[in-house]
């Protein structure tokens, strides 16, 4: 069986098994995640050597059937997701054990986390607009359940608000899909790229983009995100913040760069870029004034997701071939990947500190670097990535986008990139200053070294994405859409 089908089926099979045999669920999730990393690496190798791998599921070619395809973009996200899932499985084994989290959470977390993983893999690989809808529906329901997991009143309110936003987003996306199908009789991204343009296409793309923007928490649709991501248990927050928004973002990329690049008007590109810039600034400013670590990290997600939308204006511009567009596109992908790793690491750090110190108010964290140096190191490395400092994956991302901004003469976006980095340094300085304080007023609960190693590994991976950036860079170019090369 191909690694592609394996990655589609594995999380779903594991989720069903975890539901039937809950006692074995933690071990099963761990083994599955490890196997998932292996399969993603193998698929990456196949794609790097043999190009895009495509399968017509059920043996029916579009427009009847559904195509799944592993290009460089899909494989990079599959691998990042599998790595985060492996770390989450390790962290949750300790943090969400029945005696610590209760029987309800210890039962529900595993199948829900596996379903979330399965839906992410399905979305990254799918080339069918309706199948993508089903994928993000599964993703949304699993994510809402994770937000509600703690059972606290605040978390339930956040889950409800998240669900209303996400379902409104689903509905808008589905409306757009209906229009596309009505006009072209196909849902396949590849066939749509070669379609005869119809009048309602712009409306369909606008509806789908609005829906997906709400799901990606793009400013001003971000209000649901901070309470939802901060209220969940740390391993759940790591998935919610690091992985979930990337699915709707990847669908946006498929729509704008692959299915309908012809509909990308300069006004729409500018609007997306402005919303991204507003997210960077507003999310960072809000992060600066938060009293609790998890809220700082959650608002930072709002800001970091904003950068990804700068690639729309950066890859746009006037019709002629644009050598900088590919840089902007690849930079956006590096940003999404390194943020996924670094943000998951940060939430897992926060989880360990909450166990050690009993809370995540900034004052609670005072001096924790001394008893927990590895966790402090992990948080620091993740912060380096979010600030976009060399030699991290975040630096590669911003370097590529910055180059595109200068080369295309769009200086304004470069200011946002630089200013966002400074703001990130400012809002991450506050928790870092507390953690690295010399005095530790409390005696924290001891945390085993093995637990601390997990976020550290993720943070190191985010750094490696910049240190050894050539292989992921080359991988992302496999099957890169033409529009990413020539500009929107």
């Amino acid at each position: 069986m191909s690694a592609l089908v394996f990655l589609l089926a594995l999380p779903l099979v594991a989720a069903l098994a975890a539901l039937v045999a809950p006692r074995g669920a933690p071990a099963l999730t761990l083994i599955s995640a490890a196997a998932g990393v292996g399969a993603a690496l193998r698929l990456a190798q196949t794609v790097a050597q043999g190009g895009v791998q495509e399968i017509a599921l059920a043996g029916w070619a579009p427009p009847l059937g559904i195509t799944v395809a592993a290009d460089g973009l899909a494989v990079a996200f599959l691998l990042m997701t599998a790595l985060v899932m492996l770390a989450v499985a390790l962290a949750a084994r300790a943090e969400l054990a029945p005696e610590r989290a209760g029987a309800r959470v210890a039962f529900g977390f595993w199948p829900i986390a596996l379903l979330l993983w399965g839906s992410l893999n399905a979305v990254f690989l799918s080339r069918d607009l309706f199948n993508l809808y089903v994928g993000i529906e599964l993703l949304t329901l699993a994510a809402v359940a994770l937000v509600a997991l703690s059972g606290k009143a605040g978390a339930l309110v956040a889950a409800m608000r998240y669900m209303i936003f996400a379902l409104a987003g689903s509905l808008l996306y589905l409306l757009g899909v209906v229009l596309v199908y009505g006009a072209h009789g196909t849902l396949d991204v590849g066939l749509l790229a070669d379609r005869t343009v119809a009048d309602p296409d712009a409306l369909a793309l606008a509806l789908m983009t609005a829906g997906l923007a709400a799901k990606t928490a793009l400013f001003p649709f971000h209000v649901w995100l901070p309470p939802a991501h901060a209220g969940a248990p740390a391993p759940a927050s790591a998935m919610l913040s690091g992985l979930v928004p990337k699915a709707s973002f990847v669908i946006l990329i498929r729509l704008w760069f692959e299915a309908m690049p012809d509909q990308a008007g300069s006004g729409a590109l500018l609007l997306l870029g402005l919303m991204g810039a507003a997210a960077v600034i507003w999310g960072s400013l809000r992060a600066l004034s938060q009293p609790r670590l998890k809220l700082i990290v959650a608002y930072s997600t709002v800001a970091q997701l904003g950068y990804m939308f700068l690639i729309f204006p950066l890859a746009g511009g006037d019709g002629a071939a644009q050598p900088w567009a590919a840089g902007a596109w690849t930079g956006g992908m590096f940003q999404a990947l390194s943020h996924g790793l670094a943000k998951a690491a940060m939430f897992l750090c926060a989880g360990l500190w909450i166990i050690a110190a009993g809370g995540d108010r900034l004052a609670d964290l005072r001096g924790l670097a001394r008893p927990m140096p590895m966790t402090a190191m992990a948080f620091g490395l993740a912060a380096v990535t979010l600030m976009g400092l060399p030699p991290s994956g975040g630096f590669t991302a911003k370097y590529l986008m910055m180059t595109a901004a200068f080369a295309s003469g769009q200086w304004g976006w470069a200011l946002v990139l630089a200013g966002g980095g400074l703001l990130a340094a400012a809002y991450l300085y506050r928790p870092m200053a507390e953690v690295f304080a010399r005095d530790c007023p409390i005696t924290p609960q001891p945390i085993p070294r093995a637990w601390q190693l997990v976020p550290l590994a993720l943070a190191v991976a985010a750094i490696m994405l910049g240190l050894i950036s050539a292989p992921p860079f080359d991988l992302l170019q496999v099957g890169r859409p033409e529009a990413a090369e020539e500009g929107l």
Binding site: M1, V5, L8, A9, L12, V13, A15, L16, L19, V20, I55, L57, A58, G59, W60, P63, L64, G65, I66, V68, G102, A103, R104, V105, F107, G108, P111, I112, L115, G118, S119, A122, F130, N131, V134, G135, E137, L138, L141, A142, V144, A145, A148, L149, G151, L156, L175, L179, Y181, G182, A183, H184, G185, T186, A198, D199, P200, L203, A204, L207
Partner: protein
Amino acid sequence: MTGAAALMLDLLLVVLVAFAGWAALAGRGVFRAVVFFIAYGLLVALGWVRLGAVNVALAEAAIGAGLTGVLLLATVGRLERAGAARDVPLMRGAAAWVPALAGLAVTGALVWAWFALPLPESPGPQLAEALPRSGVENPVTAVLLNFRSWDTLLEAIVLLAALLGVWMLGRDGDWTAPLGLRQHVREGGVMAGFGRVLPPLGLLVGVWLLWAGADAPGGAFQGGTVLAAVIVVALMAGVAAPPGVDALPLRVALVLGPGVFLGAGLVLAALGAGFLTLPEAQAKAVIVAVETALTLSIAVTLAGLVLGPPTAPNGAAARTPDGARP
């Protein structure tokens, strides 16, 4: 039906659908809104019949109006028992106008799109050519369980995710309790009688819908919804007691459908046909097996959604079908 009569009926339906929709949204009473929502769903189902989409009509009536209506009514009931039921204040000012204008704008855009849409050249011809090789005669079933089976597999798992989410809303202390609130049935009362008469009839209808789905409108989702109603009525009548989450048969029943579906897909891949690829000769047999397992799982999952999370008897106040507290 003559053209004029059909036109009158269609116009009447359009007016009624719009009225029921408006009545569900306007006004303060939550119960009233739910009742109009159910009426709205049934009228929309009639609309689908008029459009010739009988499969969609069955799904809309069973799930859109029936199941969703029951879930909403159960929510109203829970709110009343918790003393949290209150009328919804009417929205005023920007809170009313912004969504109303946004809704109008989307509606207007869709009306424009309706006239602007070209007639697509696909997938009509491809569908006509492929249908004889799909193993079933009902084109909807062919799409759901053969051409686009990956969608349907994921949809079945979406239901499971929804149920897990509902279970996570229970209280920690109630986790080992049976699902849902306790039922108290008056001996010889209406509910006790219904509970013994309706389930066998419902069982027949549900199985018929499943079986008919191969060649006529119907299928796993419609049949499963009817069977879910059978389960809920039987439990409400006290014919059987609801299980808890720790009951292995319950959990096996939940995963059976998606499990058989996924397993069949993987076995076909291992045999060299490709993931979820049905060889023409075996297509019908595999589809019937998968649909049967799916129907059972859908029925149990939907019934689970109606029952709600595990609830200890002394947690929320127990209820009787007559509405009195014991």
